[in-house]
Symmetry: D2
Subunit: 353 residues, 4 copies
């Protein structure tokens, strides 16, 4: 397959660095441009970035000159990944799309735009069609696709089989979120070492809203959101990578017994399973029998960090089903999710060399 | 007040050590006997115990000879505290009660016995009357009183004002439990450092059941348990002390607005507030406005570890009310709770010199 | 004793907050003024400070208006404590001293000034006389006294008995330093959780130099520094409070056997032991026999955080003596050390109401 | 190359599990037998072992029946790796060697035996010849080779270039050791979370002694140990993997300037660099310029955990050179080191199919 030339916006931040690391040996995508703030522009990347990944900075970006995040400096790319901060993403991503450059974004800014797909390839690949309704560029060459919040991803991936089989009445979820989700420098060690912080700003509304768009039905070029309440409590815990969620679900139709639920999850097949996308996990959901699992430190890296691990499926007296889900928040839940989106967009012909 | 001579059963374990530390300068109780397994019996305490408290072992117990846990060796005490392991508590505590020695126990074994009070003085001080129905000793001089599980305590303390004012329909709770709850050596560091373990053996059934007895009504010498389902997920987190719980409550009668709930909790007055019990916290519930609070590392020691801290009270679309509660698991949730029980039992005339 | 009115410079920072907490119930000193940067000046303290201490902000400072750090706004104090950042301490502390206001500083800026005492009351109380040589104010009413770096304190306190008895030839020391030493927000959690950082900027030169001034002899109004090399490696570890140091010492005169060293340390008596200073620990040095001790989490709070704990005293083939020392870095090693200095300065008549 | 059939003694322990994981896709060695205590013997491995590795248990061992650790049950292997506990290793390893089965051991028991090579292939590959002096089996077919303690390995690897170029006068070293070094369950979390333990039983004598044998010269079939004192302090820190050591070295011949030392280390070439051993790291020593490095969490997995990372090389006034070294304690420092030993033994003809 021809190589795509990808730019990265917000390349010096934590998400941008993760994009660089994950794209290092990607079979389809080559990093050909790095964008950051004016403070970094003009410098070699090795000087502009405070590299926090544990593997060394790839040689290929080491001496690459950082550019300003403006479309005029990205004329040589086929598309861009965006790891931009939400304070600037609306303007910059919009400017790129208007200029005819597709944007695969991890930022939250356009997630709620009704013309922008909020995409988890295993959940709602058909939502990709929304792109055709976008008006950023006259010829449709520029557009935006987004991936959800890092908790919404494992939550929705695990709810999907239940939603399709039984319908969902309501969800109560508590998330135990890793410190890497706050970027760098992020959470001060004095706040979190040996501690739990019972609040993460802006997180709970996203956890409540995004699954509804993801599980929505595309009808006449519009997404009809799913309609059930999600009550969320978001907590920070001293874990490096991997958001773990304790999920309680009330179903519209109650399964005859709880083993039906685990069988359903275990046998669930992703709609993109046969597309040959390089970053797609062989098993998007893994169901543990051992009640001590999943654990963030042991399992966040499963399938290169792209799997949602599930355990402790059991019934309950208030909600019908309780279970634990866990996924790598900066891979599956951020940069890796965006890369998988880009791969689907290639396969479906939305991205072209 | 005359001094009571207290024995401690299970004195070398983690709970036993906490009893020793908390009783060190107690105005009413003096430690006069220490009991442990046959392996320790006959040794001076300083040799038998692997002392894990951060303050030094009190001089008063240093050279005390450890006894076997049999009533015949405890003839000189007024009552005993029990920090016994559940594998031996049924037999030993029963034997002491039969022999006429009152047992104030932290073990789970007799908590479900309908004649044994499961007691949180601020919640159900009247349940103390159950003692009169016990048949351990012919003359009633020997009996057992218990305190609840370390999660059930802050859960029930925080539910109590809601239960009385609105009635409770159902509860969904996720607990983030400190490692000290597993005793010593307890949780291996390789399992929990930078990690979350999504399972604690035997914990969830206790969290579901104990609040119902605690909130039950004493009628004709029997406790009519409260009747609502509690769906619990118990998780272990890398925190030293302080169990934090994310609570979601559906009420029977919905409050006109959520501020009623926080006002109710804030103005709630404990029924034992005026009894002058030495270990009773001035404020059994503390409500934080700052949404970053409560935190285990910062607030578990509030009011000598006897307070239940509450925060983030807010409404929801699935359950009516969500909030965070947190209490010190080995003080309020174990040894300190048992000592407060003993103080109430003194005040009410059940314990006598 | 008459109450002294104390101001605090840098009151909103981590050291400033520790001053406030430690002075809360001080028998001699009352906080009467708080100074911080222009950004905070004019605000009530509760608004200006992001309070990070685990105990609640004292009522007495809650509504106190923060002032600019200029002497003209501190006319009503008897002296000031300084927790100022080193970037501004030279100018501000100098300005206060010139204006006739004594400064008891924790900042490093004046520590090397030959007229300024670098003071650990148990080690070199006589150095206090240096103050008389200062020229800040014409009438000598304004002056500066400093306390050493947080590693230099336990290092020097533990070396003092050896220095006096045997003479010191050389020292090799590795420090394992707590995160609270970096202030707030300080060390990012992503850097230190489950990790060690092998470098702390600017730390090693202070560890090498300050013990020599502390152990120096005051002669003719000047300190003749001790003369031995100290080779230091400063490491950051995921500990909240308590710097632990592994010390290796070569002596000028070798003790006949290693037990002489521990006897010496154990029997050492501080020159200020009988002065009745409120913050002075009853035992400035505590020697543990148990080779598992001292540990930062268990022992940093010993004697209200003012003790230096020592353990594992043993001989060696390269250096004569190896041992472990540990002290609370923000109490003994910072704010608490400065308060003890102030108490000595009161007792010796340098501070007056 | 023909496949070697390898047995693993102590297969259910932490080191045994690491052997299994590292051998999973080994090009030369196939696991064909697993040995453990009588308690495990007869069970399938999946049942006998409490698997603590983060990657799943390999299919190949899942159903393998665990055997007793006796040579009569290992007739079908070419050699065994031993991860046995030191309490049983002397007897069992000896019995295997006597029975003609070569033992590549990680246990400490035979390390000091003058006929047994203590081997780090990059340091003293020629010591392998000691095997020929062993008398375990009449025909020499059974023998024992060992790898050193997990701290001695990075210490000696980093000292080797200095020893050869300048000679070593003395060493003072402090080790900060990861919890995985204590096996499983190992260090209780209550002991180490947010803490440092200043003692590791039996560790310091090994750190002092083993480098001297490793750097010794083989003469007339005997190793003449190097002769310099190593004064060690071994500390436990809350790190999962990776022992970090702060090393201070006095040299016999002082380098003209410190940059000579880092050049020497950087340009050092391992004597086995060209042998094509599958587990040999491309760069056994990596020298970081960035003074924040190396860090255990970021760099322990470098080169599949087989590299010794070095940083902060600098001069000193007491010892000539100070630096930081770090290596993965259970890979380079244990199972991985043993596998590299086996590879060298294959290449040199000591192991045969």
């Amino acid at each position: 397959m021809a190589q795509f030339k990808a730019g990265i916006l917000g390349a010096t931040g934590a998400v941008g660095q993760k994009f660089i690391r994950l794209l290092q040996d990607h079979p389809w995508f080559t990093i050909s441009a790095l964008g950051a703030s004016g403070r970094s522009a003009g410098k070699p990347y090795s000087e502009a970035a405070n590299w926090i990944e544990s593997t060394p900075m790839p040689e290929s970006v080491n001496q690459m000159e950082v550019r300003n995040c403006t479309s005029s400096e990205f004329g040589d790319v086929d598309f861009v990944f965006s790891g931009l901060d939400s304070t600037v993403a609306t303007e910059i991503e919009g400017e790129f799309a208007i200029a005819g450059i597709p944007v695969i974004s991890n930022a939250k800014n356009y997630r709620t735009d009704p013309t922008v797909p909020l995409l988890v390839p295993e959940v709602n690949p058909d939502h990709i069609e929304l792109i055709k309704t976008q008006k950023f560029s006259a010829d449709g060459s520029g557009w935006i696709a987004t991936n959800p919040n890092c908790v919404a991803i494992p939550l929705t991936m695990s709810l999907k089989p239940l939603y399709d089989a039984f319908g969902i009445h309501s969800v109560v979820v508590t998330s135990l979120q890793a410190i890497s989700g706050a970027g760098y420098p992020g959470v001060p060690s004095l706040d979190i070492l040996g501690n739990v912080i019972p609040y993460i700003g802006g997180e709970e509304p996203k956890i409540s809203a995004e699954p509804l768009k993801l599980l929505g039905k595309l009808e006449n070029g519009q997404v009809q959101h799913a309609a059930f309440p999600v009550q969320a409590t978001a907590l920070r815990v001293p874990v490096i990578n991997g958001h773990l969620i304790a999920v309680n679900v009330k179903l519209n139709e109650k399964p005859s017994n709880i083993s039906k639920v685990s069988e359903l999850m275990r046998s669930w097949k992703s709609p993109i399973a046969d597309l040959g996308l390089p970053s797609a996990p062989a098993f998007p959901l893994h169901i543990y029998e051992d009640e001590r699992y999943p654990q963030p430190r042991l399992h966040a890296d499963n399938e290169n960090g792209m799997q949602t691990a599930i355990g402790r499926i059991r019934g309950g007296d208030v909600m019908d089903v309780s279970y634990i889900a866990m996924a790598h928040n900066t891979i599956r839940g951020a940069a890796g999710g965006a890369i998988l989106n880009a791969e689907l967009l290639v396969k479906k012909g939305f991205l072209k060399v």
